[in-house]
Every structure is written in structure tokens, then in C-alpha cells.
């Protein structure tokens, strides 16, 4: 049974250095000194970078979240204020709970609409109908755009007075200014890009799918829909896992489109924009922003742990 090679970033649980398969010896002692040195360097240098640039600042953020530091002056002048930042965030900081709600909405939209849409498009493109290369390119094109650029492009479409959508339909809807609908408008803009990304990942997986299985199914009388749900989908489990991970991470990390629109205010609050608004800029509420960032870390951890359990349970 052919399994698809993950062609995008590997799932976060991979720990073996790249290039080593089951055929080479695992023990370091059996390698010659040059190989051993190279191996150690290849493992140590990225580890130092990750620890230094990711873990230490993350721990630093968590520590700072218990202070009210404003970014100026000596580290020795920092005052610890305990859990006050956290209680403030949860009780008297108005944008926080709307931000949590919006993050969850973002996650749901990606999970229920745009990721399945991407997978569906991949299946269609995989059938190699006439012009499928054109479709493939045009669906994937938004992915190469930076989030900020996507936000800017959709601003031109969504602008209340000068935008294309209102001009074509003759409406006067304030897409980005109306707090009840702007989060949905932003999600559509994000989904436009996200769909192409998922489509390409799934397409890569589908290319590795053994056609013999599909033929076997059609011999047994299964239509294309049944074939997909009962054969293709389960067989592509590794690809599905990657896609799930990417969907989760992108949903919880959503930031640039919303920031470009209006810095995450007035209905477009997301936890990432709250962190940025507090930490970066003249506001410089580093302690408070770090508390928000720590809460974001906790929220993401809950989801990732939940997902890892599904993965591990499935593997057994």
C-alpha cells in the first residue's frame, strides 16, 4: 500500500534527523567520527536556534506576564504584580472575550468550510479534466500572497464607498466597518487563500494514492463519492493529519489580514491582534500583552493536545 510522502512541513512530532531511514544503524557508536560529528552538529545547531529564539522568549513572555513592565529601563526595575494582568484580562478588558469568540469562529470556518473545500477541489483537480492545470494554478495563486497583501486586495473589494462588491451589487454594506459582519468578511478573505493551500497539500497526497485501490472499488460497484469516503480518505490518513495540524495552527495564529484591515478593532478582535496592540506600539504594555500571549499559548495547547490524542489513538 503506497503511503504519501509528506511534501510540506512534517508534523511536529518528527524527531529523527532527516535522511535516516530504518536501514541505517541507529546507534551513534557504529558511525565513523566524521558522520558522528556531522550528525551531532546537525542536531545541536537547530536545537540551539529553536531553544534560543523560540523557547527562551516564550518562557520570558510567561515570566513577564506577571509584571507590569512597560518596556523602558533596566530589567532589575521590573515589578511583579502576580495574577493581576490575568484577572484584568478576563474581567475588565472588553476586547478579550470577543477575541476568543472570533478565534473560535475562525477555527470553525476553516475546519467546516475552507479545508473541506480545498480537499474537494483537490479531488476535482486530480481527475485531470480539461484545463485542470489552469484551475490548479489559479486556485493556488492566492497562497503565494502575503496575508497583508490579501487584506489589502480585499479592502479594495469590500470598501463601503469605493469597493467593487458594493459597486457591482449596488449595495451600501459596510463590510469591514460593520462589527456584526466584518469578521465573516475577513474569514472569506482568509479562506480564499487557505483553500488553495489545502488543495495543494491534498493534491500531493492524492498523487501518491495507488489507483489499483480505486479500480478495485469501482469493480465492486462503488460510485465516486463512496470511493472517496470509504477508500481514498482513510488511506490518505498521513495527509489528513498534516492538513488538520495546519488548519489548527493557521486558525489560532490568524493575524495579518485582520491587522491590515483595522488593527483588530471593532469586531475584528483576535487574540493575536490584542497581543500586538498592547506590546508593540506606543502603548508598550509589555506585561499585559505577555499575559494575553500566554493565554493564547494555553488556548492553542488545549487544541493541539486534543488533536495529538486523536492522532496517537488512531495510530494504535
Amino acid at each position: 500500500m503506497a503511503t504519501a510522502q509528506p511534501q510540506a512541513k512534517a508534523p511536529p512530532t518528527v524527531s529523527k534527523p532527516p535522511g535516516k531511514t530504518g536501514r541505517r544503524p541507529h546507534s551513534l557508536k557504529k558511525l565513523n567520527p566524521r558522520d558522528r560529528r556531522t550528525l551531532i552538529l546537525m542536531a545541536v545547531i537547530p536545537t540551539i536556534l529553536v531553544v534560543g529564539l523560540v523557547w527562551l522568549p516564550a518562557i520570558g513572555s510567561v515570566v513577564l506576564s506577571f509584571t507590569n513592565w512597560d518596556g523602558i529601563g533596566d530589567l532589575s526595575d521590573i515589578q511583579f504584580i502576580g495574577l493581576r494582568n490575568y484577572t484584568d484580562i478576563v474581567t475588565i478588558y472588553p476586547p478579550f472575550w470577543p477575541a476568543v469568540k472570533n478565534n473560535l469562529l475562525w477555527l470553525l470556518s476553516l475546519f467546516l468550510i475552507f479545508t473541506p473545500l480545498g480537499m474537494f477541489l483537490a479531488v476535482l483537480v486530480d481527475r485531470e479534466l480539461k484545463g485542470s492545470r489552469l484551475y490548479q494554478t489559479s486556485f493556488y495563486l492566492p497562497v503565494v500572497l502575503a496575508g497583508a497583501l490579501v487584506g489589502f486586495i480585499w479592502q479594495l473589494l469590500y470598501s463601503r464607498d469605493l469597493g467593487l462588491i458594493n459597486a457591482v451589487f449596488g449595495t451600501e454594506i459596510d463590510w469591514f466597518g460593520n462589527p456584526d459582519i466584518n469578521i465573516y468578511a475577513a474569514m472569506v478573505a482568509n479562506g480564499w487563500r487557505h483553500t488553495g493551500y489545502i488543495m495543494l497539500l491534498y493534491l500531493a497526497g492524492l498523487k501518491g494514492f495507488d489507483p489499483a485501490l480505486g479500480e478495485a472499488a469501482s469493480i465492486d460497484g462503488a460510485g465516486p463519492v463512496k470511493t472517496f469516503f470509504h477508500i481514498t480518505f482513510p488511506v490518505l490518513r498521513p495527509t489528513n493529519i498534516i492538513i488538520m495540524v495546519i488548519t489548527f495552527i493557521d486558525a489560532l495564529r490568524a493575524f495579518d489580514i485582520v491587522w491590515i484591515i483595522n488593527q483588530g478593532r471593532n469586531g475584528l478582535e483576535l487574540i493575536a491582534t490584542l497581543v500586538t496592540a498592547n506590546v508593540i506600539g506606543e502603548a508598550s504594555r509589555i506585561g499585559f500583552g505577555s499575559a494575553l500571549a500566554t493565554l493564547m499559548l494555553l488556548l492553542s495547547s488545549i487544541f493541539i493536545i486534543f488533536q495529538l490524542r486523536i492522532m496517537v489513538k488512531g495510530d494504535q
Binding site: 556531522t38 523602558i72 464607498d161 478593532r265 506606543e282
Partner: protein, 430 residues
């Protein structure tokens, strides 16, 4: 169709050689980046004077360039232009890292805060020789303990701006007090014009309206005290400000939360709206539309006869010196030049949406609007700077800005909004 795995098309290369080459390249690039970052771009001489400038839009940028061009001293100025919002947002890191010798900034809480934390240089010695700055300017440029840290350059008033040609056509006249103003709004509404253009997308625009109302309803001293965190936001006085604002809500442009001030100015130009509470920088939009002459303003009318209209909001922009400049003498020399009337005249020739802080600045090139602004400010007893310059920035941008937007979204929520501001204020100010 499953495809066979393609063979690596480079038979003479082993993977090992490729990886070694990649490591070598990465190492070289990394080392050169480390080395290059320290010295920066072109080799600086001892005469180079770095200047950080936040003029993002074209007109202010050209105005500043013209101003620096007139410098006759020995230092060689090198201007680093940065986008306005980016510069303001990164100011903390900028000052604690590697700031330029001289940089643009403004008067208010923040400049005093920098001085208190030792992030900017003391300019009291060159201030002693400055000519043309009234006492109010000197006070605005000083720290509480009397040291000057800012060289004022330009400023501009906030007021209610309108187009005289459109008003003449409909027979409108500037109102003197609140009752007249409300009547005028009714008249405009009857003429199918939205009386007040209104923008609130950035969160800071409604602060202008709040400041003006607070100055008129409660007076200058209360406003200063409120900005310092010494007054209750959910008290009766602030509540009265919003009671007054409620009366104007029916006359303000709807959907303000998605509108930028530039779009608001455009609505004035297309005669959709009658007037706008904004700063004189609206002139930049009018200049771009070639209607610069068709702009006038009136002072925010009187709301309480006991308080009158002697307070005006006029933010002051200027220059500061880094705490440890690389070229201290050059910096002070340049600042002495920038303080002169001659320097600001060069800037004003290009940017007519501001007026010179130096009273000796030539008024020859001033438009009627600028001359009026000079007169209005000269008559004012008290000058405030604008909410986000008068109070702590972490309070202004993260609390008051979103709160005002929430009020505009749903004015009836004002009581809970004010209570929440008060709670957050206590948490931030301590």
C-alpha cells in the same frame, strides 16, 4: 496514477558535498551579516548628523526636506524617513536601541516621559538663546522640573472645518453656542446634507470630539486632571460630556467605524456633509483636490457661559535629541537652526496645513486660514495637545480608543463603558 520517485539528477554530487556547501554558504552569509550590521550603510564621518523623521505623506515630507536644505552649518544631515505610524509605534525600541541624533516628535505626556526615563537629551542650554517662542511654547516643551527637551516647530489647531462656498450657497453661518449649533444642524438636515462628517476607523479620531466637548463642558483644568488619571471617568462630569455628545449623534455621519478621516474630508469636498471636527491637517486633502482656498473653520462653540471658549486644542510638533547622540555638537547646531523662523518658513511654504510655532515666522506665505489659526491660538488662554498626547499612551490607545468606538457603535451603552474605563484606568495608573 502513482508516479515513480524521480532519481536525483546530479550523479557526481553526493548528498554530503551538497550539505557541506550549504553550510559554508550559510556560515559566510551569517558572518557577513553580523559584521555588516554593526557599521550600517555608508561609512559615517564625524560630521554626519543622522535625523529620524516620521513624515510619511508627501507634502509633510517635502516640507521637512526643504527645511533641512536651508541648514548652513558644518554638520552633514542625513535624514531617515520612516512611515508615520511605524515611527510612533517603535519609538520605545528606537530610543533604547540606536536612535538618530535628532528626531521628530511632539509635545505632551510622552516627551516628558522620555525625559524622566533619560531617553532624550537636555536642550535647556540652547533654549536660552531661542527667540520668538512665547511662554506657553516653552512650557509645552519643558519637563515638570523646568528642563527643555523639545524644539517646537509647527502646530495646528483643531476646530470645526467647513467650505465657505457651500455655506454661502445655503445661507449658513458659524454658530456661537450649542443652541445655535443644534439649530444649524437641523437646517442642514432639512437641506439633505449630513451636518457632521465623522470618521472613527483609527480609534483616535473621536478623541478630538471628546476633547473639545470636555474642554467646553468641564473646562481646561478638569481636562488636564482627567488626562492625568486624577478624575473619575464614571463620574457626573464625564457623564455630562457624553450627554452633550448624545444630542449631536443624530446629526453625525453614520457608519463612522469603517470610515477614515480622509474619506470624511472627501465627503466635505463632494458636498455630502456640511462640517467636520478635525485638525487643520484636513488642508492636505483639500490641497490635493485643488480646493485649498475653500476651507475655513470656526472655534468649537460655547456650551457653558461660565467656561466660555478660551481653551483650544493645538498639538505641537517638533524635534528632540537622543540621550547619547553620536554627533552632539552637530545635533545642537541643527536644532538651533530648526528653531529659527527662517527654517520653519521654508517648511511652511510647502505645507500650509500647519503654522509655525515661532511667533516670528513669516506670515507672508500664510493663507487666510493659517492667519486665522494664528489669531485664534494667540487669543486662547490654554492649549491642550490631544488626548493621545496628553495622557499615558497605553491608556489612550488600548482603553479610551476602543471605548469611544464602542460608544459610537451603541451610544446607549455609555454607562457601562464609562465604568469599564474607570476600572481599567485604576489598573493602569495604579
Amino acid at each position: 496514477m502513482s508516479h515513480p520517485k524521480p532519481a536525483l539528477p546530479l550523479p557526481s554530487f553526493t548528498r554530503r558535498t551538497l550539505l557541506q556547501a550549504a553550510l559554508a554558504t550559510a556560515g559566510t552569509v551569517g558572518l557577513s551579516a553580523c559584521g555588516g550590521g554593526g557599521t550600517g550603510g555608508s561609512a559615517p564621518t564625524s560630521k554626519t548628523l543622522t535625523m529620524g523623521a516620521y513624515q510619511g505623506d508627501e507634502v509633510p515630507r517635502n516640507a521637512f526636506k526643504a527645511m533641512v536644505e536651508g541648514y548652513q552649518g558644518t554638520a552633514e544631515p542625513k535624514i531617515n524617513f520612516v512611515d508615520h505610524e511605524t515611527f510612533k509605534n517603535n519609538i520605545n525600541n528606537y530610543l533604547q536601541g540606536n536612535p538618530d541624533d535628532v528626531f521628530t516628535w511632539f509635545a505632551g505626556y510622552r516627551s516628558r516621559f522620555f525625559a524622566k526615563n533619560g531617553l532624550v537629551g537636555d536642550l535647556s542650554d540652547i533654549w536660552a538663546d531661542f527667540k520668538g517662542f512665547p511662554e506657553s511654547m516653552k512650557n509645552a516643551s519643558s519637563t515638570p522640573d523646568g528642563k527643555q527637551v523639545l524644539v517646537p516647530s509647527t502646530y495646528y489647531p483643531w476646530g470645526v472645518f467647513y467650505r465657505p462656498s457651500v455655506w454661502k450657497k445655503h445661507g449658513y453661518t458659524p454658530p456661537k453656542d450649542k443652541a445655535e449649533w443644534l439649530a444649524l444642524c437641523e437646517k442642514m438636515k432639512g437641506d439633505q446634507i449630513v451636518p457632521m462628517a465623522f470618521a472613527a476607523k483609527g480609534g483616535w479620531e473621536p478623541m478630538g470630539t471628546f476633547d473639545q466637548l470636555n474642554l467646553r463642558v468641564n473646562g481646561y483644568q478638569f481636562h488636564v486632571s482627567l488626562m492625568d488619571g486624577a478624575e473619575a471617568w464614571d463620574g457626573e462630569k464625564v457623564r455630562n460630556v457624553f450627554k452633550a455628545w448624545d444630542e449631536f449623534i443624530p446629526f453625525q455621519q453614520s457608519d463612522a467605524l469603517g470610515r477614515t478621516w480622509q474619506e470624511g474630508a472627501q465627503s466635505l469636498l463632494t458636498e455630502k456633509t456640511g462640517m467636520m471636527v478635525i485638525g487643520m491637517f484636513i488642508g492636505q486633502q483639500f490641497a490635493a483636490s485643488k480646493k485649498a482656498d475653500d476651507l475655513d473653520f470656526f472655534m468649537y462653540p460655547e456650551f457653558d457661559p461660565a467656561i466660555g471658549t478660551d481653551a483650544i486644542e493645538a498639538p505641537i510638533d517638533g524635534f528632540m535629541m537622543a540621550a547619547k547622540p553620536k554627533n552632539k555638537d552637530g545635533a545642537k547646531d541643527m536644532l538651533k537652526y530648526l528653531a529659527t523662523a527662517g527654517a520653519v518658513n521654508r517648511s511652511l511654504k510647502i505645507d500650509s496645513s500647519v503654522i509655525g510655532a515661532n511667533s516670528d515666522a513669516s506670515q507672508e506665505t500664510y493663507s487666510a486660514l493659517q492667519k486665522k489659526a494664528v489669531g485664534v491660538i494667540a487669543e486662547a488662554k490654554n492649549i491642550s495637545q490631544f488626548l493621545d498626547r496628553d495622557t499615558r499612551p497605553d491608556f489612550a490607545s488600548t482603553v479610551v480608543g476602543p471605548a469611544l468606538q464602542a460608544y459610537i457603535k451603541k451610544p446607549s451603552d455609555i454607562d457601562s463603558i464609562l465604568k469599564n474605563i474607570e476600572q481599567q484606568k485604576k489598573s493602569i495608573f495604579g
